[in-house]
């Protein structure tokens, strides 16, 4: 790699975006993995495509459109599942598809060409403007702050929701709050890996971290480090090979995930012998 690459603002921004996004990814991804709500995260992310369409249609930063759409999807999917007793996967499927459909229609209604559409779908870390970095940092602060304040409640509803309820925890409220944190993480990750690939970065680093962690806090820290490593390594490889950055990050993370679990399988089968 060219030694002066850091002289370019776009590259510095890409590195900073990777590091900042990894914080949200590590914290929220850990909850997604231990609470097994990966597909809700996928549903929230895809629904957010409607927000991107809205951004294009209104001529504003599409990320500002993503925020209400992803938060709305999080609350609606959560409430439908908990209060209206709609099967959660049905609610996810409906929102997933409708959000995408709304996005397609709004982009179609927008006059002219929709620039960078591909980068919102599959991410392009090299196009993160400085303004978005500030937004990512702010969202990181919100996510870390809420987790610090309600860490024991989130742990309780993730480990044993019935016991949390018996202990007087407002489980539905905290579940919705957790889904809102996922929604905010989606906003951050859209820039890095895009809407379609968000689900991978929300689950893979945390899933690998879980294998080596003894506490949820430790898992969050390790997932943050793994996420940062995949993002930076993926960024470097994509730059060297001139391929899509978001997809490279995901393939790298996916390969590590398979290796770790294959290694685990081999070790446990040897021990069984």
């Amino acid at each position: 790699m060219n030694g002066n690459i850091f002289a370019f603002e776009f590259f510095r921004n890409a590195v900073l975006a990777s590091l900042l996004a990894s914080i949200a990814c590590g914290i929220v991804g850990s909850y997604v993995v231990v609470k097994k709500i990966g597909f809700i995260s996928g549903g929230i992310a895809h629904t957010a495509f409607g927000g991107i369409g809205l951004g294009y249609y209104l001529g504003i930063n599409p990320l500002f459109g993503v925020i209400p759409f992803s938060l709305g999807a999080a609350i609606a999917i959560g409430l439908l599942g908990r209060k209206a007793k709609v099967a959660e996967d049905t609610a996810i499927a409906a929102f997933w598809a409708v959000g995408m459909a709304v996005g397609v229609i709004l982009i179609g209604l927008t006059p002219g060409y929709a620039p960078n559409l591909f980068s919102y779908l599959f991410g392009n870390i090299l196009t993160v403007p400085t303004g978005d970095l500030w937004m990512i940092a702010m969202l990181d602060l919100v996510i870390a702050g809420v987790t610090w304040m309600f860490g024991k409640e989130f742990l309780a509803i993730s480990f044993d929701e019935e016991y949390a309820e018996v202990s007087g925890v407002k489980t539905t409220l905290f579940y919705l709050l957790l889904l809102c944190l996922i929604a905010l993480t989606v906003v951050i990750l859209v820039r890095i890996v895009g809407i379609v690939l968000v689900i991978a970065l929300l689950t893979i680093p945390a899933a690998i971290a879980r294998v080596f962690s003894r506490s949820l806090g430790g898992m969050m820290l390790l997932a943050t480090l793994f996420s940062a490593f995949f993002s930076l390594a993926g960024l470097w490889i994509s730059y060297e090979l001139d391929v899509a950055s978001g997809a490279t990050i995901i393939i790298l993370a996916g390969a590590a995930f398979l290796m770790v679990h294959a290694g685990r399988l081999i070790i446990s089968s040897r021990q069984a012998r």
Binding site: M149, L155, Y163, S167
Partner: protein, 254 residues
Amino acid sequence: MTREIVRCDRLGVELGGVRVLRDLSFSVVEGDFMAIVGPNGGGKTTLLRVLLGLQKASEGRVEVFGEAPGSHPEKIGYVPQRLFFDRDFPLGVREAVLMGRMALKTPFQHYSKTDRAAAEEALQLVGLGALGNRRIGALSGGELQRVLIARALAGKPELLLLDEPTASVDPEMKTSLYDLLDELKKSITILLVTHDTGTVSRFVGRVLCLNCGMVMRENPEGTPGGEVARQIYPYPVDLLVHHPSERPESNVKP
């Protein structure tokens, strides 16, 4: 005057169109150690869920500590029948027990030194003091059951509700659990759902028999005698040992 801890007055519960409990009236006073027995599907777990505030009553009145169920989570310790969780969940035994202090904290409060000391004490009480650092997924079934009991005791409850705590443990563990409950009953009111009618009769003061959702009877001697057992269970029952223990004044309405 003895304080009333639980009061059910003509309680009825319907789940998915099926009447699980019907016309159930009883009360539990401070210091009671009551076993709830009866065949599967008789409504034992449902009754506990109603008392915990997890299940609404369809009819009748229920009061726990003089208020609607769920009003005083800080006074209740609960041991579920079993815990379904991911064996890979990154959680230490000590942290799991610490969750028993949750009801004493407000959402913004973090666990204090007092909470940690209480959790440690509860771990010692169930004989797991040495396993505090172990990952919860690495425990055996019996050890896990003891962790659930420690979690219920960590909050220093006034009422302990246990749902078949001996279902998945070996005979030795079962004996030590009953010894523990025998000790605890001096300071805590206990409601124990169990199928273990033989052993439990040595420890409990009163027995509530639920069958098809109705109270069959409370045995006046505090033990489910053979005749009662034959009434409740659909298969032949022989109870060979009877050790009636002292019991507080009964106020169960048969």
